[in-house]
Symmetry: D2
Subunit: 338 residues, 4 copies
Amino acid sequence: MLLVMRPDATQAEIDHVLETISTNGLHADISVGKYRTIIGAVGNEEILVDVAFEAMPGVERLIPVMRPYKFVAKEVQPEGSTIKVGSALVGPGQLTLIAGPCSVETEEQALVSAHAVRDAGATILRGGAFKPRTSPYAFQGLGERGLDLLVECKRQTGLPVVTEVLDARDLERISEVADCLQIGARNMQNFLLLREVGMQQLPVLLKRGFCNTIEELLMSAEYIAKGGNDQIILCERGIRTFEPETRATLDFAALTVVKQLSHLPIVVDPSHAAGRADLVLRLSLGAVAAGADGLMIEVHPNPSQALSDGAQAMPLAEFEGFARHVALVRKAVQDIDR
Amino acid sequence: MLLVMRPDATQAEIDHVLETISTNGLHADISVGKYRTIIGAVGNEEILVDVAFEAMPGVERLIPVMRPYKFVAKEVQPEGSTIKVGSALVGPGQLTLIAGPCSVETEEQALVSAHAVRDAGATILRGGAFKPRTSPYAFQGLGERGLDLLVECKRQTGLPVVTEVLDARDLERISEVADCLQIGARNMQNFLLLREVGMQQLPVLLKRGFCNTIEELLMSAEYIAKGGNDQIILCERGIRTFEPETRATLDFAALTVVKQLSHLPIVVDPSHAAGRADLVLRLSLGAVAAGADGLMIEVHPNPSQALSDGAQAMPLAEFEGFARHVALVRKAVQDIDR
Amino acid sequence: MLLVMRPDATQAEIDHVLETISTNGLHADISVGKYRTIIGAVGNEEILVDVAFEAMPGVERLIPVMRPYKFVAKEVQPEGSTIKVGSALVGPGQLTLIAGPCSVETEEQALVSAHAVRDAGATILRGGAFKPRTSPYAFQGLGERGLDLLVECKRQTGLPVVTEVLDARDLERISEVADCLQIGARNMQNFLLLREVGMQQLPVLLKRGFCNTIEELLMSAEYIAKGGNDQIILCERGIRTFEPETRATLDFAALTVVKQLSHLPIVVDPSHAAGRADLVLRLSLGAVAAGADGLMIEVHPNPSQALSDGAQAMPLAEFEGFARHVALVRKAVQDIDR
Amino acid sequence: MLLVMRPDATQAEIDHVLETISTNGLHADISVGKYRTIIGAVGNEEILVDVAFEAMPGVERLIPVMRPYKFVAKEVQPEGSTIKVGSALVGPGQLTLIAGPCSVETEEQALVSAHAVRDAGATILRGGAFKPRTSPYAFQGLGERGLDLLVECKRQTGLPVVTEVLDARDLERISEVADCLQIGARNMQNFLLLREVGMQQLPVLLKRGFCNTIEELLMSAEYIAKGGNDQIILCERGIRTFEPETRATLDFAALTVVKQLSHLPIVVDPSHAAGRADLVLRLSLGAVAAGADGLMIEVHPNPSQALSDGAQAMPLAEFEGFARHVALVRKAVQDIDR
């Protein structure tokens, strides 16, 4: 941690900062320049997390040097973690296809979708039973009945299931069905929920909030890991920008940045990012080439009858061709980073 | 709702859209232009909320015409609602000062703060017992003990208290203490929590998420109001932008826009927006002149010893002078809109 | 300037950085921590502006400590500069009203506007002759004829005139008419144009680009000042965000931040920021209370007949009442900062 | 164009809008709903570009239906345009590699770079002689001497050259050297410059401004095309967001969106977007898979000695391996869209 003092900082103000650092057991380095004095706190910065240096007289700016996470940091597992979701793997050397409907709506819709995505190469089934919706008047998911349908999909296809958890009180029930718990973008900083899934045995798919930085994403993962659950898959699903043609702008650089900073795998959800099915193929291929460990795709047997997010659902009939293109790109990039 | 058809839409595709509108009980108007056909769904658009028009063949774009909320819409109470928080009022003709520490930390800190802000003119005390923090290693609030301290502050000063609720399971306990439930920016789209506070009898202070639009803020308020609780105070606390000098950029236009669209009052939190105490005075005066119904200010007897957000806390000693300036600006603008 | 070395930086890499700093005549301070080595370059950082430290092996991050401008820095004139535009002043203790039509369109429109804004208290007339328009099909200003109309407005009202310059080749001609040269938001980083107005004798009104940081705004002002022209008025006109209700979001914090960093005055243009006339009053009052040195307002005798930006033009008939409200707020805040 | 009238619009206000549409020679369709009246202007919307409907009493909102450009619209050339830059092609079926140093600095640096990128497969050489720099104290390019070096590079390698033009007054001189004129991101809305390059015979590479929408990019291209020069290559180089890890966020969706809307080819500049060399490979591969028609890459024989943007320059030694990876991905996606 570096503390840049104001040009007019007094010696007493400087001394107070130095003492605070020493009192907390760190070593203080001081560099007196012509224009500014800079103080470095050498040692474990984490100890200082609750010290309000920026409110101390004479302090102009605090510059963190170390990254504020431990369990999810790259150093913990430099070769990258592989997460097991039922029979499927997510991690280095894999390109995991997660697919399924936005919401589970009917038995037929769910089963047809599950069989088709499995046959085309998906190894994890996605499907929402509890849906967070901007409008209280929109379809909110089938709830319990949706979970039952997911059980039936698993039974028939053998695919492990990832489904979203909105409420800690549903965790027990959902955990009976799910092979992976999804934390949606809107709950990325619902720290209580993070803490509770951190105490589960199941892997967690953690979506980046659409207005959260990469560092905040990793800090939310740290909440889960700190609780003892380090089976975490990150998911980039786009961030909000001024561009109106798409719902969000996928941050492809985040894939490489995350891999430099963390051992956790990261997948991409182009369906929610674009909000439009016609962009999903190219965004998916781009994501694979840019280093994604997997893709999460929304499909529907008949998008115009979907009860949620129909505009972004890929028609089921196109999924097999889609998967073939994905496989070609994956092959083209699989020797990088080896 | 308007549906712009693609230039190459077939008559069958147009007919399918027309039928879907009719089937749902609305009237369909059609305008056939040289380049495009446009279909208007005339009637209660809300009925169509779950219809995936954008996924229908031939449809290029869906343009909503009506605003998607009812209970919080301006028309419900054109003169604006006044919300009662204990003995304090928030609404037209008021300029409510809400102040207190970010977190309740010690008995002395809490009581000294509460007395001082009351003496300077604040009519509601703010103070956090449960704190959402980006880092799992940061101070997370005193919890239960914090609530006890708030009770003591109320007893001694008579000020009503607003405090944040993070978890629906704490609602009962917090409701014994609080006069107003705060939903933080990170929980603005925690729809389950919104639904639960919508079933309470207490007023709710709903903060705008730092990446949420004005319409989304009103939709979240609609979740609460739909549950039966229309005692809602909105709070603008800044949105994320590319500008690094401040933590967020306060959206002053939102104050007028909200008043045009909704009957709910809106207050401004400049402390969290700026993340720096030195900007709070001017942002507060600006907010009052721009039409805020109140201000929510973080203070601390000694900001450099604060356990959370010290950098943005106004030293308690400055609060009285601050309140005087606020009163002057309020006086200067109080005759507008009459 | 601080250089954070990578955890695995070698001694040779560290030595290379140290030597580069010494070779350039600065002193290098080194702080060897448990996790990182940090090197400080003590002295005039400006000398190092063209050194690619970030591309040197072993360097993780470069952190500038000093602000990269000199002529526009606060230290040059701590009490703040006052800029003289014809008979009008812009600076500390003033609240300058700049008003007029977006474009000069006809003799009547221009003269009626000029007289009315002067009578209501405006001391500088704005009016565009050369207009930058997003569409090549939109009205591009009257050009030469517009300049002639501005001359006539000056003659009749005595008001000094600010008008936009788009092309350095027009500078001579525009300088015969204008009392202040406007650099529009889209040209804030047209460095050639900045350099040329830096060689003029006339004051410059420099608008912040809608996607530029405060620091970039000051660097653009530095281009002008470095050329010898320090008669610069900054203008905040909103930055782009994800919020669709307004065209841009005014950054009120920028007013105070600019005053902390620079001696230049700063005015606010709420008309272009909002893109809607109905928000101009409240944004203007907010700006004055938040510390603006002036306002720049678009008016039109009949906005629905305006050839450019009619939606944001205040009807001329409302301007006098507007100015009265502005004066009241100004009075309420004039004793701050004294 | 659709005009949504306010709920309280009077018949006279509605009639005025209808008349204005008729007077301009378009047909007006009217749809009277329970809550709103909506008026459609059927015909060539372009005629109405200067009509201030939004300022007319009773009008709530204007919704454009047609795209506001003609020459660059997809319909003009549905199969997509191919642009010839010297001996190189940019367009459908191509994957054009444009590479070279940010700035031309010395004869050796320029020639070594030019030979190396040609040998690795680049078919266009990039190199700046006139550099737009945020700081007036930074290296501004070699100017004339830089152009001479580019001539020598062309002579020795046979590569066509793209270089940036900042000032219309340099156009004649630059056109003697360049095979393609680059308009940088900061000049994307320098409409005068656009108009002047629109009158040249040379192809233009037009970079998207870092805060401009896709529609604005196409409107700037329209300025050039309207002047008679339709040899335009678009370039996506990232947009500004709140994420601090990279300088800008590449908008990969823009590639497909542009191809849906326009016949112009689009290339990607990952170097400026990331601002960091370590992200360039993966962003490039992603861009190719996502549909880019080419890449524009900054290289340097020794990035740590670069006079501008060293941090983002790929070491020349890595370029050949880079090009091999690019070719593999290109091959994997080349059958899409056929």
